[in-house]
């Protein structure tokens, strides 16, 4: 599953300035009533950590799968004083990240940044930055499939019941299968967690390496699924535990390598084929972190 197409143009670090602010749009594209509706869903989600709150997802000027859920959550949280950072698999300069950033520049004229510490609102696809999130930051995940039970139970009415009654035994079946096949838990992405000792939650397809960062984080973590019309959340300082067995505890595995650019040994690495001979290189997937370290 590891993405290698995500070749990061490290030399070309500067991102383009984006399109000029367009006054024709309401601030952050969505109308105020829609934002209010989404904010209500977000507040409810924060009150019930890990619980999927349905919301009336709007058509966005981008296709599903491009983070329409995350974009609507971001749009509803954004204020004029915010500094926005958008990352896609850890990088600020991939097509997806660039186009979403441009979208917000054009519709809201807010400041953007690539530096994790400077951002007040970060929207992400598939990663949590290596730089620890802080108090007062809002961290928005783009979610393709919000329902962690979906692979077990196709009926939504039934999964809703399973959540409401905490019938989670079957969730461990997948982990059991992993261990019996591979001797360890193979699931590497979208590794399910239990939030606040209550709801089982899909953390979106982040690597399980990032799972511990969700636990007890000072930031507000919001999850938006556009096509599936669900919002869920982890309020600050909330317990988030990755599922495991007593005798096979959760292991946030990472490759046994150091970053070939900055030398970091404890960051999540992308494996990149660097030449036609198939030689590989390992570099931080978090470009901001890697650059800062390299420049020090």
């Amino acid at each position: 599953m590891r993405k290698t197409n995500n070749v990061i143009k490290i030399k070309d670090f500067k991102v383009d300035k984006g399109l000029p602010f367009d006054q024709e749009y309401n601030f952050a594209y969505l109308d105020e009533n829609t934002k209010k509706m989404i904010r209500r869903a977000i507040i409810k989600a924060l009150c019930i950590p890990g619980y999927q709150v349905p919301f009336a997802s709007r058509e966005m000027p981008m296709p599903y799968g491009w983070g329409t859920g995350g974009v609507q959550v971001t749009a509803s949280c954004l204020t004029k004083r915010d500094t926005l950072k958008i990352i896609d698999q850890g990088a600020d300069d991939t097509t997806n990240a660039v186009s979403i950033r441009n979208f917000f520049k054009k519709t809201s004229n807010i400041k953007t940044t690539e530096i994790t510490e400077k951002a007040t609102l970060i929207q992400t696809r598939h990663r949590i930055p290596e730089t620890p999130l802080k108090k007062k930051q809002i961290f928005v995940y783009q979610v393709p499939i919000p329902e962690p039970l979906a692979f077990l139970e196709p009926k939504v009415s039934e999964t809703i019941k399973m959540h409401s009654l905490s019938e989670y035994g079957a969730m461990h079946v997948k982990l059991y299968e992993d261990i019996s096949k591979n001797g360890h838990i193979e699931t590497a992405y979208a590794y399910p967690v239990k939030t606040n000792d209550r709801y089982i939650m899909d953390p979106s397809p982040i690597p399980k390496f990032d799972n511990p960062k969700m636990n007890n984080s000072p930031a507000i973590q919001l999850f938006g699924a556009g096509r599936e019309q669900r919002i869920y959340a982890i309020p600050p300082y909330t317990k988030v535990k990755s599922l495991d067995f007593e005798d096979y505890p959760f292991d946030p595995f990472k490759a046994e390598h150091a970053c070939d650019i900055c030398g970091s040994k404890n960051t999540y690495l992308d494996e990149i084929i660097v030449d036609d001979a198939g030689n590989k290189s390992f570099i931080c997937s978090d470009t901001d972190f890697c650059n800062k370290r390299k420049n020090k």
Partner: protein, 256 residues
Amino acid sequence: MIIPLLKVTNLSKSYDNIVGCKNISMSLYPGEVLGIVGESGSGKTTLINCLSGNLEPDRGKIIFNINNKETDFLNISESEKRKFIRTDLAFVHQNPRDGLRLNVSAGGNIGEKLMSVGYRHYGNIRSLATKWINKVEIDKSRIDDLPITFSGGMLQRLQIAKNLITSPNVIFMDEPTGGLDVSVQARVLDLIRSLVNELNLTVIIVSHDLAVIRLLADKMIVMKNGTVIESGLSDQVLEDPQQEYTQLLVSSVLHV
């Protein structure tokens, strides 16, 4: 005096205008095997679906009494009911595919039942699953194989293992040998019979095969048009039936 494990009073369920089952009353005591017979459409499956929580009856009372704890099955909350079903009841479907996950290994299927009641130790789950795979006469080397690689009889035995591993208090079986070849039926029946004896199981089994009932059931009820027309000890009902319909049923079946 012993208290019945299950006491049913005036249970009725209809589908729109069609009677599913009507005014059913019966009791079941610990360790008893109750057979339900009747022609197709007589309400057998409706009845056990009501008793096992798969269907909501229109009227009547279902009281379970397990370890001196009374459960008014139709008057508890949804969550209590599902928990009760999970821990105290088990259901063996006619088609094992309805009771198994076909994309999950044999061990995972059996293990799921344990995980659903709170087991979180892989090693323990694995060894219990292995023990039960063995108990239902499946070679333990098959534990990691997918059910699609199993024969019909093996699938049914796997489903039985999955249902019995958590020691439920009442086991429902709907035509457990119905979909199997005759040669395979006998083996599954043997297995059920020996498990019933060994573990002193309390079972409600639906079958239109009187030979199955004769072999397994202590008591039986005969259903027709949704009502119980005759009930009693199974040898008594089979050997000295009091109703015209039952006599017809008994005489029209080849004796074992």
